[in-house]
């Protein structure tokens, strides 16, 4: 499967009067795994929505293999570009097999019958996500991790060269987060699928993505390899958080350690000198 390239040119987008994204120029390299990171409300999800044409930009364009995605016929675009929104809702009573089979929608005409190619794609998607044995279960009965694998299976059955995911690991335990990200990495390495995902967790983004896109206030702050992008300065300027970035002893990727106000054994130079106030813990975490 050839992986088309995705190019964003001079993009401005928003909701009604409110401009969320401005002056975005971006090349998503084909066949790589790109993660978009940034603070809440910085426009990450809006960028992903614009890339997947759920949102029509006010200015600029998004080009898929040189063609504007907002001009392509819906079905043809859906054959090349898959999308998994944040916490999607499964229809009441739908089984795993039915849900995953929906991924074949863009490849089925009005009167087309279910073909062996469709069946093979669904089988492959189920196998790849280890959900074959769940095929007859109702999606609503599954655990959060299983459910997310099923949604990814649906996107896989769509067999697109590009897959966009909005926070695919939200609400998952750490083991399920790793499972989902491993699965996406497999997909990227074995099929060459271009992956673009919005991620909250900086360290996981740095570990799994080939390219990090850091966004702040609706603009792109930095783009490049995780080693280049994930720096103490970036964390400070994008998230407003003092941190230390060290090398992950396991992967050699950069790893960010946040400095809160209550650090137990901090070397003296960065010690945040502030008396402990009677603040609710939630505020400290924020």
């Amino acid at each position: 499967m050839s992986s088309p390239s995705l190019l964003v040119h001079d993009l401005m987008a928003g909701y009604g009067e409110r401009t969320v994204l401005d002056d975005i120029n971006l090349t998503i390299p084909s066949g790589r795994n790109t993660a978009i990171v940034g603070a809440n409300a910085c426009g990450k999800s809006t960028l992903l929505r614009t890339l997947s044409r759920l949102l029509v930009p006010e200015r600029g364009k998004v080009l898929l293999d040189g063609l504007s995605i907002h001009r392509l016929p819906a079905r043809r675009l859906a054959q090349q570009l898959g999308l998994l929104p944040q916490s999607p809702i499964a229809p009441e009573g739908i089984t795993v097999l039915d849900l995953v089979s929906r991924g074949r929608h863009p490849r089925q005409g009005l009167f087309a019958r279910w073909s062996s190619a469709d069946e093979a794609a669904v089988a492959e998607a189920l196998e790849a996500t280890h959900t074959t044995e769940l095929a007859e279960r109702a999606v609503e009965e599954l655990s959060g991790g299983q459910r997310q694998r099923v949604w990814i299976a649906m996107a896989l059955a769509q067999q697109t060269g590009v897959l966009l995911l909005d926070e695919p690991t939200t609400f998952l335990d750490i083991n399920h987060q790793i499972e989902v990200l491993d699965l996406l990495t497999d997909l990227n390495r074995m099929r060459g699928t271009t992956i673009v995902m919005v991620l909250h967790e900086l360290n996981l983004a740095a570990r799994y993505a080939d390219i990090l896109v850091a966004m702040a206030k609706g603009r792109i702050y930095a783009i490049g390899a995780p080693e280049k992008v994930l720096t103490e300065q970036m964390v400070w300027e994008v998230f407003g958080l003092a941190s230390r970035v060290i090398e992950d002893p396991v992967t050699g990727k950069p790893m960010m350690i946040p400095l809160g106000r209550h650090i137990a054994c901090e070397p003296s130079r960065d010690r945040v000198e502030e008396p402990i106030k009677n603040t609710p813990s939630a505020e400290i975490c924020a």
């Binding site: 009604g16 997947s52 044409r53 759920l54 819906a74 079905r75 043809r76 675009l77 859906a78 054959q79 898959g82 999308l83 998994l84 929104p85 999607p88 809702i89 499964a90 229809p91 009441e92 009573g93 739908i94 097999l97 849900l99 929906r102 991924g103 929608h105 863009p106 089925q108 009005l110 279910w114 062996s116 069946e119 093979a120 669904v122 089988a123 492959e124 189920l126 196998e127 790849a128 280890h130 074959t132 095929a135 007859e136 769509q158 699965l183 497999d186 074995m190």
Partner: protein, 352 residues
């Protein structure tokens, strides 16, 4: 998935899911067949049993056009038109209702709850009483009014997008207004019988004629075909707008086709039988339970709708102490379900 998937393993998986698919398809056909058999049995029952019993051989001869004394008129002029119109109207209500419920992802969003059939009914009464119209012209007025009401609901509930809950509340309000308008019009037509008035308030197939079935049948072919052609897109819409669009569904085009087709079906049926209470509202949920959500609900809902009207009419005519129009019977069936839905949504934090 650390190593590439082996092809024999894939073949095995594919064969496995193909088997599941065949099993589910068999079960689906089975439910359809049972519903169809019930419908045929219902038709036989309503044709044979009325004030008098008609044995099956006599019935067939009478249907074939033979002049059986005392039976020919009853069967051909009274029972047959009633059965045919009941089935056609029931299919129209069932399809239109489930299309709306699926598209708006809410069982309360059916055309008879949100005022579309009430609007069509009010327009039909207006056309007959005030404009002295009759025949297909009434249907056209009803369809236009139904579409107008749909548009009005949409416009009134628009505030930076339309949410299901607001649309339903606006629709319920409009339905109440339109119903009082119908009642007002009926008061000004004193020559009408109670039965005739009840047709336009609750729905009835009293005194229908076979020539009213033809426009209904044509409408069903046209609008029903349009809805069936959107079947897959409708199923995709159940997963939310974002997923549907990601799967290549053209949201606006699908919505417009479904609304026009569903309103057309409901309005054409209403112009003949009046707004038969709750048939559109009940058919989809009953079909969903009968099929355990196996496949598209369109066809099973259509069959359930036909059964509801046909049997509701029979019950109203012969099994109750007085003669009631079908709408009263289906209304009694539907009201508890409506209460149940509202309680359930209230408990689950209003998953409207």
């Amino acid at each position: 998935m650390s190593e590439p998937l082996r092809s024999d393993q894939l073949c095995l998986a594919a064969a496995g899911i193909a088997r599941i698919r065949r099993k589910r398809a068999r079960r689906r056909w089975y439910v359809w067949a049972v519903l169809l058999a019930c419908l045929l049995a219902g038709v036989a029952l309503t044709l044979m049993r009325g004030q008098s019993f008609t044995p099956s051989m006599t019935l067939l001869r009478a249907l074939g056009g033979a002049d059986v004394p005392g039976v020919g008129f009853t069967v051909r002029e009274l029972r047959l038109p009633r059965a045919v119109v009941s089935i056609l109207a029931g299919i129209c209500f069932g399809l239109g209702g489930v299309a709306f419920q699926t598209m708006l992802r809410n069982p309360l969003a059916s055309p008879d709850i949100i005022g579309i059939s009430t609007g069509a009914s009010a327009a039909a009464v207006f056309a007959i009483v005030v404009l002295s119209m009759s025949g297909p012209a009434v249907s056209i007025v009803a369809v236009v009014a139904g579409l107008g009401v749909a548009l009005l609901i949409y416009a009134l509930s628009w505030r930076r997008g339309v949410t299901g809950a607001r649309l339903i509340l606006v629709g319920i309000g409009l339905a109440a207004m339109l119903q009082s308008f119908t009642a007002y019009l009926l008061m000004r037509a004193p020559s009408w019988s109670l039965q005739e008035s009840l047709r336009w308030m609750a729905g009835s197939v009293n005194g229908v004629q076979l020539n009213q079935a033809l426009p209904l049948f044509i409408a069903l072919l046209f609008f029903g075909g349009l809805i069936l052609s959107c079947s897959r897109d409708l199923e995709a819409l159940r997963m939310g707008d974002d997923i549907a669009e990601g799967l290549g569904v053209r949201l606006t085009a699908t919505r417009v086709s479904v609304i026009v087709a569903a309103v057309g079906l409901v309005a054409f049926a209403t112009a003949v039988s009046g707004p038969v209470a709750f048939v559109a509202f009940l058919s989809g949920p009953i079909a969903a339970r009968l099929t355990s959500r196996n496949g598209s609900l369109l066809i099973p809902s259509a069959l359930v709708g036909a059964l509801l009207v046909l049997l509701g009419d029979y019950v109203g005519q012969f099994l109750l102490p007085a003669r009631y129009p079908v709408g009263i019977v289906t209304g009694v069936l539907g009201a508890p379900y409506l209460v149940y839905l509202i309680i359930r949504d209230n408990k689950s934090g209003g998953a409207l």
